[in-house]
Symmetry: C2
Subunit: 346 residues, 2 copies
DNA sequence: CTGAAAGCGCTTACAG
DNA sequence: CTGAAAGCGCTTACAG
């Protein structure tokens, strides 16, 4: 490895002290213009780059934020979700000249607690935690530790947390209403997400709210799923075997919608003619299936960007009051609900 | 934020110097057992976590590796690819107790050069660079700078680079042979990837090699694509419009295969009955389409894991000779080639 | 054997 | 106004 250039090297070349060179590079007024430009030139010529460790130690600030991805939710939410989140976090971090440290390995054993270590070691000045399980006490501990943390998702039981999320209840009600009102469906099924994640609970709640309001609760069926493609398939298989009567399905995500649609089609039920299907998330897969899935788009990247901005706010001002931001979820109309013929536009 | 616990705090509580406490915690022989355990206990009680900045400055080692994702290739290779890579890098970094810094923002302007800054600032001890464009001089510069770097992909023109990749030529020849030998196809199309990435050039080469060996080069057609779903569709539209005669298509990736299949099906060509289709990558989408896409599986996570191991080798021993590792690509048989009926197993 | 200084690279608060 | 010390937290090499 080539020799490392330090501030001292730059200073020596110009004939000033390292302290002066530091001030010169930061544009401090007390350094004369001529010295300032001489130092700048020397730094450029030598290819000086400030040591992050030296800075971090002196400034008591790492210049990095951490993105924590609990293993459980990695499997639950899928690849596309995390790339959206990562992109959002990076965008905001970039704007603040900060590095992004990623841990995809926070699991049960190590827990998010492993990340408390990272933050207490001051590798990162704060952390973004993506949707962890309701029962995950690590999140609570992390929040209570007083370290700067922003959560992505909904945490009704964590009043002190800073979080960014969407209104899953309202959005699922909208999805359900779409099948009810626009497509005149009256016998709906809801396949839930994992009910140990708030998102699963809330989406179920939204479905219930909508079918109640429409007075079709009696004919509605709820089946528990786990967000995996196969669990959507299993739910449909079960209902078909039972001879259940339904003309629409609200899946808690697109992956399950895909699995479910396949079973329906293989069983001779046409989608959307016989059964209207709507998904949730729009993280990538929904556009790509046949028929393409009508879904509720969750603005994951934007949530992450906003969460990271909030995190920087807390890092700069630790006393900020907890806050909750909610972003809109939008209905994306495709083919599986019946709005458009399947061969058409994609 | 709570008060930060330093080594000095631990030492004071036990009544030794910080130096002694440091040695005690590292299990140094010269500290007596009784002191050692007293220090350990004090550290536990106080919740001491070593400062990464202090360590980094003293040890001249950041304890972190960087994963660089040139913007161009982010669009080109897709989300799933990067999550596989990220998982592989994390696994290896974890085993070495190192952090993973991710940059998804290395683009044309900032270039991978932006990352030379990161490494010269010693935020990271080395970097993994995922498949950059052939023309990307930044990669070359980074390699030549002497900083520890491992590339994922193929870089025939960078003899001094450490890299991990797959044999794209051989794998594409295998894919092509599958349509030729197993399915008896004789009039093949190849839709290429982006030809400014080595991968695109190599896969085209593999196709050519196979059709030549089979003596069907005359009937073969090559169309340039860009790895995007739409470009696969465009390629098929063009051929259909020209009234081209073909019974099999080797796509340079699964996304294009999906786009292409749709156009074929919409035009009344049955896949696989009339046209055998094979893709490449198997990063997620191929399993999910209808029909599911037969493809060549690239072991992205394993490549990344291996690359990161190699990186740690270089970080620990800067003089190591450049090396090239190649991982096997495997044929994953699904429906689009004609091996299995579409309704069946998935 | 053990105590404590020195120094990694930086920047700010202090002394002159 | 300007020079240079002090100190962030750590660990190793040195002095005793």
């Amino acid at each position: 490895m080539r020799k490392v250039v330090t501030l001292k090297d730059v200073a020596q070349r110009v004939g000033v002290t390292a302290a002066a060179a530091s001030m010169a590079l930061s544009g401090n007024e007390r350094i004369s213009d001529s010295t300032r430009s001489a130092v700048q030139r020397a730094a450029d010529e030598l290819g000086y780059v400030p040591s992050s460790a030296g800075r971090a130690l002196r400034n008591q600030r790492a210049g990095a934020v951490a993105l924590i991805v609990p293993n459980s939710s990695q499997h639950v939410f899928g690849h596309n979700y995390f790339m959206h989140v990562l992109t959002g976090v990076s965008t905001a971090a970039n704007a603040h000249d900060a590095q992004v440290i990623v841990s995809t390995n926070a699991d049960q054993e190590n827990g998010v607690a492993a990340y408390e270590r990272v933050m207490r070691s001051r590798s990162a000045d704060g952390a973004i935690v993506t949707s962890a399980a309701i029962e995950d006490r690590n999140v609570e501990r992390l929040v209570e530790s007083g370290l700067p943390v922003v959560l992505i998702g909904n945490f009704p039981y964590l009043a002190d947390a800073v979080s960014v999320g969407v209104d899953d209840v309202g959005a699922t009600a909208t999805a359900t209403d779409h099948l009810l009102q626009v497509h005149g469906r009256t016998a709906l099924v809801h396949v839930t997400g994992t009910l140990d994640h708030q998102t699963g609970v809330d989406r179920r709640e939204g479905f219930l709210r909508a079918v109640r309001a429409a007075g079709v609760e009696e004919r509605s069926i709820i089946v528990e799923g786990d967000l995996g493609e196969e669990s959507g398939a299993a739910a449909m298989r079960q209902l078909l075997a039972e001879g259940a009567d339904f003309d629409g399905v609200v899946f808690a995500n697109d992956d399950m919608a895909l699995g479910g649609m396949r079973v329906l089609v293989d069983a001779g039920r046409r989608v959307p003619e016989d059964v209207s299907v709507i998904g949730f998330d729009d993280f990538g897969i929904a556009r790509v299936t046949t028929p393409a899935i009508t879904t509720m788009r969750v603005p994951a990247e934007e949530m992450a960007r906003l969460a990271t901005e909030q995190l920087f706010d807390r890092i700069e001002d630790t006393d900020r009051a907890p806050a909750r931001r909610e972003l809109p979820v939008t209905l994306v109309v495709r083919e599986s609900c019946g709005c458009r013929p399947a061969a058409d536009e994609r």
